[in-house]
Structure formats: structure tokens, C-alpha cells
């Protein structure tokens, strides 16, 4: 079954993971089921309840991804009291204490057809490593997207690579890295030597967490792409299967999210001291990244890296912040608008408002005098002027005619809770082992002192083909026009011509490397 993370297809399907997008930063991960696998006891089968309504899974299965799904009317109150359900559940528990989930589905095959509710909806999304990172159940501190994206990019983790990850934690980085290495599911037929399939070798020393990750890998259709090993890597290294004698993962990249990465480094060498096989790919440069929140951890790691011959060691931290965009509305006309600041927006409006206030004060006073039985004093004239008691000016400048979504000034600011620091990332590289023997072989293939006087630019395949073609054409032409004698001449002319054109083309494509 293809993984919804990698090949979601066009529609959602039963027994696959889906993310129910409720609102910004709130998605509910769920495994879509046609039956009530959690024994919830709803008439509609498995139901997800949110503050925006209830959603029976039958309304979520076989829908195009990205669809807006309308909430259903689900009776959430009576299911506990339902006489039909309670004894059945109990009886089942007595019969089979493990409580298989399929049992319920078989017993109650007919589910109530959900009825659309008046309001409420959510969006049905396929999971991506990014959305999963935001939605996953936290078991540990997790690696966020801005870190994982940079780590994988910088470690050159690409389709076909093998990456070691320790520890797996909550599986955030696991999902990001499986997408990066993915270039196909393992098939039964032996893979051609040419194409190596990407793989994630995940190590976790906490037994329940390792189990959880393993379950997730299966649920998410990543079996064969992620291999989870429960292991204390400080002690027992990175071989798959048995600790000291297992298979080598032949990793191109290693990500260590451990409290003491330096303790694991001794296993990540070309020739381990204990004589076991190296977990590294002997054919390629190996990239390493450690993820440590504290500076002291990073410093200690770097010290050990230097001793173990890692090169290009560098430490960075990735700072990421999200930016919120909104419209800031200031003005006296914004009364009652949510989030608006009711305050004069300009000097003109302030002046206007002061005038209005003044006029209103006078009116109020006049009204009071009226009420007091017509005792008139200095306010006489004004009261006569406005017998209706209406103010002629508005407190604010003319109301804007634009629709509400265009009003106010468009502003942006950082998110309210800034993540200032996640961890220090230490990167390092271990080149291939290069022996004197390899060197001698290379020198035979590429003689050190062989230098052509006039550096002849190399020909691309296309160019060679084209040269051949043009040569052939030329030859044919010559043959046609001239007779036997001319044919001999073309053999000497044509190649010279061909090389000339090559040189011209190559000159253009060649890089100018002057600094």
C-alpha cells in the first residue's frame, strides 16, 4: 500500500492516515476506518468530534483530498446509555480480553447514514512531513521544519540516500527524512545494482517510544523505507539487526539528536576499533549532523569530531519566525469592528470630533434646561437655533466606501511566541577512506605528468554525435559531387573542420572562473 505521505493518490481511502484540518495550527491526525476501531459506540461508526462539529469517518473516506467536509448530526449524548451497546461491549470483553477491533465491525455492519449538520466543516488533507510535525502527538521535544529542511538539504540527503537517525523521538524528523530519501518502494524482484533505494535507519533507546514509532511506520505505509531499531547507540552502535555483528546500513548521512552525541561518534568511523563492520557507506563522503540545545554539548561534540578526523566542522543555528499579517484599523468610524482601535485617525478627524463634542455638550445642556421647566439663561440663543436637538456634524470624517476587507492599513509582525532557539546544529564531513593502493591505481589511470600542450576541450556526447553526423553528411556530399579522387580529400578536411566547431561551442560553455 503506498504511503499517503509519499503517494497520497487523488482521494482518501480507508485504513490510511489523514489530517483533519480544523483551523490554523490545529489539525487532527486520524486513521480513516470504515468500522468503529476504538469502540466509541456511535451509530455512524468511527466519529471525530471537534469544536466545529462531529465528523463520521464514512463522510471522510473516498473523498478527494483537500475537500471541505460538512459536519454531521451525531448523537454524542446517548451512546453511553444505549442499552444495545453496553452489554455488548462488556460481553465482548469477557469473551476476548484483548478486544479485537474487527469484532465490532462484523457485528454491526450496518451503520447509520450520517445527516449533514447546519453548520461546521473541516478540510480533509493528506499528511505531509510539515503538517505531521505540527499535528503529531509529542512524546519528546521535536525537530521543527525549518531545522529539518536545512539539515537534510545541507547533509545532501537525496532520493536514494541512506540516513541514520538517532533517536527517533516523536518521529518528526523520521517523516521529513523518509520523504527526502524516497525514490521507490522496495519490490520483490532484486533491485538493479544501479539504483539504490533510499532508506531511513531509525534508532531509539526508549522501548515504548521505539514501539510507537514502529507502529506509526506501519500505519503510515512506510514499511521497508524506515527500519526502526530499539537500541542504545552509545553502547551498541548502528548496525542493523544484531548490535555487533549485524548488517551495515551503509549510511551516507547521520543525524544525531541525542543528549551526548560524542558518545555515539566512536561507532561512526571507517574502521571501528572493535573490529565490527562500519555503518558508513565506504563509497561516499559521509555527512553528519548533531542537534544539541546546549552550547557545551556542541563544544564537546566538536572536540571529539576533531579527534576522529571529521572535517569541515561547522556549527550554526537556524532562526525561524513566522509572520502574521493583518489589517490595522484606526478611526472613529471603526466603532464595533472587531480588533479595531477607536481613536481619531488623523488631526482632521480629531478636530472634527472635538467640534462635535462641543456641540453635543451645548445641546445636552439645552435639553437639561428644557427639562428643568424652561429656565433660560445664557444658553438661550443656541437652544432656539436647534429645536430638534440634532447635531449637524458627524464625529468622524465621511465613512469610507470600500468593503471591510480593504479597510485599514495592511501590517505584518512576528508571531507572538517567538522560538528564539531550538538547538545548535553541528555539521561535519568524513571523506572516503583513501589508501596508498587506491592512489596508485588512480595514478595509473590518470598519469600525473600527462598534460596536453594545447588543452583540448572535451566533447559532449551530443557534440560527438553531431560531429559524426556532419562528417558523414559532408562525406556523402563530397562523394556525390566529386568522384573518387575527391573522396580521399574529404577524409583529411572534415575532421579538422569538426574540431573547429567544437572549440567554438566549448568556448561559450566553459566557465570563466576569474575571481
Amino acid at each position: 500500500m503506498p504511503s499517503p505521505f509519499l503517494n497520497p493518490g487523488a482521494t482518501s481511502s480507508a485504513d490510511n492516515v489523514a489530517l483533519l484540518y480544523v483551523r490554523r495550527d490545529q489539525s487532527i491526525p486520524t486513521i480513516l476506518r470504515t468500522y468503529d476501531d476504538e469502540n466509541q459506540g456511535y451509530k455512524e461508526g468511527k466519529v471525530v468530534n471537534t469544536r466545529f462539529g462531529s465528523f463520521p469517518h464514512s463522510t471522510l473516506i473516498n473523498q478527494p483530498w483537500g475537500s471541505q467536509i460538512v459536519a454531521s448530526k451525531v448523537d454524542t449524548g446517548s451512546r453511553g446509555r444505549a442499552p444495545k451497546n453496553a452489554p455488548k461491549r462488556k460481553a465482548q470483553e469477557l469473551e476476548e480480553p484483548s478486544g479485537t477491533t474487527t469484532g465490532t465491525g462484523e457485528e454491526k455492519p450496518e451503520l447509520k447514514k450520517p445527516e449533514a449538520a447546519a453548520s461546521g466543516f473541516l478540510h480533509l488533507m493528506y499528511p505531509t512531513p510539515e503538517s505531521w510535525t505540527l499535528a503529531l502527538p509529542h512524546r519528546t521535544q521535536i525537530v521543527y521544519t525549518h531545522d529539518s529542511s536545512y539539515i537534510l538539504h545541507r547533509m545532501r540527503v537525496r532520493p536514494g540516500s541512506t540516513i541514520i537517525e538517532a533517536g527517533a523521538g516523536s518521529g518528526s524528523f523520521t517523516h521529513a527524512s523518509v520523504r527526502a530519501v524516497f525514490n521507490g518502494y522496495p519490490v520483490d524482484e532484486p533491485a538493479t545494482k544501479k539504483q539504490r533505494l533510499g532508506k531511513v535507519c531509525s534508532f531509539e533507546f526508549h522501548q515504548p517510544r521505539a514501539e510507537r514509532i514502529r507502529e506509526e511506520v506501519t500505519q503510515h505505509g512506510l514499511d521497508g523505507l524506515v527500519e526502526v531499531t530499539h537500541r542504545d547507540v552509545y553502547e551498541n552502535g548502528f548496525l542493523l539487526g544484531e548490535p555487533k555483528s549485524g548488517r551495515s546500513p551503509k549510511a551516507n548521512a547521520i543525524f544525531l539528536d541525542l543528549p551526548a552525541p560524542w558518545l555515539a561518534l566512536k561507532h561512526l568511523v571507517r574502521k571501528p576499533a572493535d573490529g565490527s563492520e562500519s555503518p558508513l557507506d565506504p563509497e561516499t563522503t559521509v555527512h553528519l549532523c548533531t542537534f544539541s540545545p546546549c552550547l557545551e554539548q556542541a563544544q564537546k561534540t566538536i572536540r571529539i569530531m576533531r579527534q576522529l578526523s571529521w572535517v569541515n566542522i561547522s556549527m550554526v543555528e537556524a532562526n525561524n519566525h513566522r509572520i502574521e499579517v493583518k489589517r490595522e484599523r484606526i478611526g472613529l468610524d471603526a466603532e464595533g469592528v472587531r480588533g479595531a482601535n477607536v481613536h481619531p485617525k488623523s488631526v482632521d478627524e480629531a478636530v472634527n470630533k472635538l467640534r462635535w463634542d462641543e456641540e453635543r455638550t451645548k445641546l445636552t445642556r439645552a435639553a437639561r434646561i428644557d427639562a428643568n421647566g424652561g429656565e433660560r439663561d445664557e444658553d438661550d440663543e443656541e437652544a432656539d437655533q436647534k429645536p430638534t436637538g440634532k447635531v449637524h456634524i458627524e464625529p468622524f470624517l465621511p465613512r469610507p466606501t470600500d468593503p471591510a476587507y480593504k479597510l485599514g492599513r495592511l501590517i505584518h509582525h512576528s508571531e507572538p511566541d517567538l522560538k528564539q532557539h531550538t538547538s545548535y546544529l553541528v555539521f561535519a564531513i568524513l571523506p572516503r577512506d583513501w589508501t596508498e593502493e587506491d592512489e596508485q591505481k588512480c595514478r595509473q589511470q590518470w598519469p600525473s605528468d600527462k598534460i596536453e600542450k594545447e588543452p583540448k576541450p572535451g566533447k559532449s556526447k551530443k557534440q560527438i554525435k553531431r560531429d559524426l553526423a556532419s562528417q558523414k553528411m559532408k562525406e556523402a556530399k563530397e562523394r556525390r559531387t566529386a568522384k573518387r579522387a575527391a573522396a580521399a580529400a574529404s577524409a583529411t578536411e572534415a575532421p579538422a573542420d569538426a574540431t573547429q566547431t567544437t572549440e567554438n561551442v566549448e568556448e561559450d560553455t566553459e566557465m570563466k572562473t576569474d575571481a
Binding site: 561547522s314 543555528e317 571523506p431 572516503r432 600525473s448
Partner: protein
């Protein structure tokens, strides 16, 4: 991939000055390193990447003039320092040297420029001797604090030591090179961290090896709008495993590469259709023929500008058939995408001629004829495929105004597909986020409903008025979000750990991200927060009432 240095491959050479040079390693030639000297290409060919070489003064008998510097030697100084530090941590009591008595007037260095020049000519040891002599003849060397001494040594070493290392030219290295050595504005100052994030947010990855059939849609089809000269396309291709030509890992002979490639793409990727119907005419694959794991570049001029792909062995104007991009990279112009019938190539189908007619043509006319047919077929199939939609992601780094790009391309995305847009500046993206605001979405839905209600049954409602007002359909993306990332580098040395003093400024760079959603046709109301909002309003009513009373 990249396990050793291959002939005629572009590589990046790292120099002691932290400069990068990009050069093609051609057998039997000399590679120049500027003031650091030069070396023979043959002496690095076949060797692994990332080794540090030192130029020797005297060649070995066979003419070899390089020496591989071991990691221990590279770290020697730090390792010694660290070892010393461990032994005598309690040295704090000793008076530390300060810069109290240092007068920096240029007289401290006793060697003159001429003398240093002489040294350069004579001294050996790959520059180490020169550095030693310069340090020796600095009169104030014993006054320098450990920190300034380290800095001084480092500065001199960068100038004189004759070492270099060769690294593979990949997207990361190229981006760094373009940022530091070239005109960064040409690549929109796209930093490495944003390249990584851009691809992740758009969920760009290899399409896998599932067979394509009626129940399985082709996987991994992405739209890219790239005005960085091909950097973004290269980055996405790298993520999808189609940037580097497959290398003959097992057979070591690189010489016999002249042979025709054996249908590479159908074997490696999910080209189920191509596999099912092998091209009878030619063994070589058709350009832009991949069904899945493909990039469709939408370009503003008649030809896309993807010149940077040349570093990865792919020349767009003269593509190499064996390169994976030959089949997996598709290009379509905005005209072809928006209004194909106005496009001269798409709209003008070449007359098809009978086999006899073709046979009677002159050779060059026949070639032109075949070329025209092939071009039309290619443009037609790529354009039709693009217009049919169902893409898995959209990556944008463009000089065009983002709303127009999204208005055209977002409807062509499959549901739940991700969109990521890079911009060096925030303003265009802030505007873009606003175009997808909740207030606009609500208003759009109501206005659209009104228009639909007015149009008679069975007719297509004319929504052009709506798009004049809204620019994009705000109901198609959720949730519009904006972010920025910056990587800060640190120096980690015994007792001297701190962030690097300076970094590159310029454009900060921002990313917009959202996912394609499919709004329901039914009239629905939001729940939950809706009720809460009403409550809030009700608390403010007394205020309003008072106002009303006062006004009347």
C-alpha cells in the same frame, strides 16, 4: 552519486581564502588556482571529494605534485590547544596578556613587502614557511593576546598557504557560490536555508515507483515558476532525484560513455506508459515525455532561462538525451498555458504528410518536417497536460506579481497540494496573504453566490467581475502563512566560541506557504468560533445603546 571526481564534471574548488572556484575537470589539463598556483587535473581525477590537497614544491618521480593533508594535520593546532587546556585549567592566576601596550602603526612587522615577495618565490612548504617567517619577524608577537594571535595567524594562513579541496558541485554549493562570488540579485538572493525550506514546504519529493494506471494518477508532478536562472529548478530536481545524470557506479570505465544510453528514464522512474508503449521509431527517449516525477516550468519569455542547469550537465538549448531532465523537465510559456490558441506553435499543427510524400522530400526538408512535427507534438502534449491540472505542488520564485501566478496555477493543483512562494522582500507576500484573508474569503463566497443565483440555470456564471475585485479565488488556499529563516554560523574553538562577527546582509527573504483546498458546493456556515464571536459582540451592546441614546 558524487563518490569520486569524474572527468569533465563541474566541481567546486575551495581555497584557503574561503573563495570558491567552479571549474570543469578535464583530463590532461592544468587547473589554475590564481595566486595559490595550479595543479594537473589528472592528479585529482578519480580521487574522492572533500580531501584537502597541498601543493608540493618538488614533484614526486612520476610528476605527482600534491599531498593529501590528513584531518589530524588540519586540526593539529586546535587539538594541541585543547590538550593543553585540559592539562592546565588552573592557569587563571597568571596575568593574561592584553592589548594595553600595542601600538598599531605598521612598524611591528619587520619584513618588508619586497622581502615577503622574495620569500614567496623561494620558500617551500606550501606557504607554511612564509607564515612562520612572518610571525617570527613580528616584533610584538609576544604581546599579542591568544585571540589576536590566532586571528593574525589565520589571516596570514589564508593568504599564503597553498591548500585546496574539491567538493561536488551541487545545489547547495552552487547557491553559496552565486551568493558570495556572483551577482546575488540574479538569483533573488536565495539563501541555502530558504532553498531547503522552499522545497519542503511545497512537499517536493521523488514520485516513487508505482505503476501508472487508471486507478493511480501519475505521482510527483510539480509546477515551478523560476526567475533565478534555474537555481530553483535545479534544487527541486535535486530533491526529485533527476538533477544528476546516473553514473556508472559499478563499471569504472568512464571512457565508453559515448555509447547510446539504454532508455534510462523508463527504467528508473514511474514511466509506466512509456514502458508499455515503447517507441518503435527510435531507442532514444522523447523530450519532456515523462508522465510522473516531472517539473513543469512556466516561463515568461518564449524560452525559459535555465542557464544554471549547465553546471549539472544539462544545456536547455541543446539537451543531452541521456540526462534525466531531458524527459522530466517540461517547459510551457504563460501564453501556452493561459491562451494556447494564440500560441504560434500550439495553434499551427504542421500538415501531416503521407509516408511517400515524406520520402520524396529532400533530406534537409525531411529533417525540418520531422523536427516540426516533434516540436508541435511536444508543445501540444506538455500544454494539454499542464492545462489538465492535478499537479502535486507549486514552487514560485518570480519577478512576476504573485497574485497573477497563483490565480492561474492554483486551480491546476490537486486538492491538498502545497504552494510555496519565495520573495526576497516581504511586501509582495504581505499583499498576497491579505488576498487570502478570512474577510475576503467570506465576502467572495457571498458575492459568488449572488452572481450564481442571478445566472440562469445551466449557464456558466461569469465571474470576471469577481476576479477584478479579488484578483485570486481566496477559497482555494488554506491557511496562508508567512515565514523567514536565517542561519547563523558560529566559531567553535577552545575558549573562543561565539557567533561569527559578520554575515551577509541584503534581502532577508520570505516564504509564503498554503495548501490547495476544494470548497464545498453547499452553503455552509462556520461553527464553533462563530458562536464565541457573537458572545463577544453581545458584551459590547450596552455601549452601543448608550451611544444611541446620547445621539438622539
Amino acid at each position: 552519486m558524487h563518490s569520486y571526481i569524474r572527468p569533465r564534471q563541474f566541481v567546486a574548488i575551495q581555497l584557503p581564502s574561503d573563495q570558491i572556484r567552479i571549474t570543469k575537470i578535464v583530463p590532461n589539463t592544468i587547473v589554475q588556482l590564481g595566486k595559490y598556483g595550479s595543479f594537473a587535473a589528472n592528479q585529482v581525477l578519480g580521487r574522492p571529494f572533500h580531501l584537502t590537497f597541498e601543493l608540493l614544491d618538488a614533484p614526486e618521480p612520476d610528476g605527482y605534485r600534491l599531498r593529501v593533508v590528513s584531518a589530524t594535520e588540519l586540526h593539529a593546532e586546535t587539538l594541541i590547544e585543547e590538550a593543553e587546556g585540559e592539562e592546565g585549567e588552573a592557569d587563571d592566576a597568571l596575568p593574561t596578556r592584553t592589548n594595553q601596550n600595542i601600538v598599531d602603526d605598521g612598524s611591528a612587522q619587520k619584513l618588508t613587502v619586497q622581502e615577503i615577495e622574495e620569500l614567496k618565490k623561494e620558500a617551500g612548504g606550501a606557504g607554511k614557511e612564509i607564515i612562520a617567517r612572518i610571525l617570527e619577524s613580528h616584533s610584538g608577537i609576544d604581546q599579542k593576546t591568544a585571540f589576536s594571535l590566532a586571528k593574525y595567524t589565520l589571516r596570514k594562513r589564508k593568504k599564503f598557504i597553498r591548500r585546496f579541496s574539491i567538493v561536488p558541485l551541487d545545489v547547495s554549493t552552487l547557491a553559496h557560490y552565486l551568493m558570495t562570488e556572483r551577482d546575488a540579485a540574479k538569483t533573488m538572493e536565495l539563501r541555502d536555508e530558504h532553498i531547503g525550506l522552499l522545497g519542503c514546504l511545497a512537499n517536493v519529493h521523488h514520485g516513487g515507483n508505482l505503476p501508472v494506471n487508471e486507478s493511480n494518477k501519475p505521482n510527483g508532478r510539480y509546477f515551478v515558476v523560476d526567475e533565478t536562472g534555474g537555481l530553483v529548478v535545479a534544487a527541486m530536481a535535486e530533491r526529485m532525484g533527476i538533477l544528476y545524470p546516473p553514473d556508472e557506479e559499478d563499471e569504472d570505465q568512464d571512457e565508453d560513455q559515448d555509447e547510446l544510453p539504454i532508455e534510462e528514464p523508463s527504467g528508473t522512474d514511474q514511466d509506466g506508459q512509456a514502458k508499455a508503449k515503447p517507441q518503435p521509431r527510435r531507442a532514444s527517449p522523447r523530450a519532456m515525455s515523462a508522465t510522473g516525477n516531472s517539473i513543469t516550468v512556466v516561463h515568461a519569455y518564449s524560452q525559459p532561462n535555465l542557464t544554471l542547469l549547465k553546471y549539472f550537465g544539462y544545456d536547455v538549448s541543446n539537451p543531452d538525451e541521456s540526462h534525466p531532465l531531458f524527459t522530466h523537465l517540461k517547459t510551457v510559456s504563460w501564453l501556452q498555458l493561459v491562451d494556447p490558441l494564440s500560441d504560434p506553435i500550439y495553434a499551427n499543427k504542421p500538415e501531416s504528410r503521407s509516408a511517400e510524400e515524406v520520402a520524396s522530400l529532400k533530406t534537409n526538408k525531411r529533417t525540418i518536417y520531422y523536427h516540426k512535427i516533434a516540436r508541435w507534438e511536444r508543445v501540444k502534449s506538455v500544454t494539454d497536460e499542464a492545462r489538465a491540472g492535478g499537479f502535486d505542488g507549486l514552487v514560485v520564485a518570480t519577478l512576476l506579481e504573485p497574485p497573477g501566478v497563483l490565480k492561474t496555477l492554483v486551480p491546476l493543483l490537486a486538492g491538498s497540494a502545497s504552494v510555496s512562494v519565495y520573495s526576497p522582500y516581504i511586501e509582495p507576500l504581505v499583499d498576497l496573504v491579505d488576498l487570502y484573508s478570512t474577510a475576503r474569503r467570506t465576502s467572495f463566497i457571498y458575492q459568488k453566490r449572488d452572481i450564481e443565483a442571478e445566472t440562469p440555470e445551466g449557464e456558466e456564471p461569469d465571474l470576471s467581475v469577481l476576479f477584478e475585485e479579488f484578483k485570486v479565488d481566496p477559497t482555494l488556499l488554506l491557511p496562508p502563512s508567512l515565514q523567514t529563516t536565517r542561519v547563523r554560523a558560529w566559531q567553535v574553538l577552545p575558549g573562543r566560541t561565539h557567533p561569527l562577527m559578520s554575515a551577509r546582509g541584503g534581502a532577508e527573504g520570505y516564504l509564503f506557504h498554503a495548501s490547495r483546498v476544494i470548497p464545498t458546493k453547499e452553503n455552509i456556515r462556520a461553527a464553533g468560533t462563530f458562536r464565541k464571536k457573537r458572545k463577544l459582540e453581545s458584551t459590547s451592546t450596552p455601549n452601543n445603546e448608550r451611544d444611541v441614546v446620547m445621539r438622539t
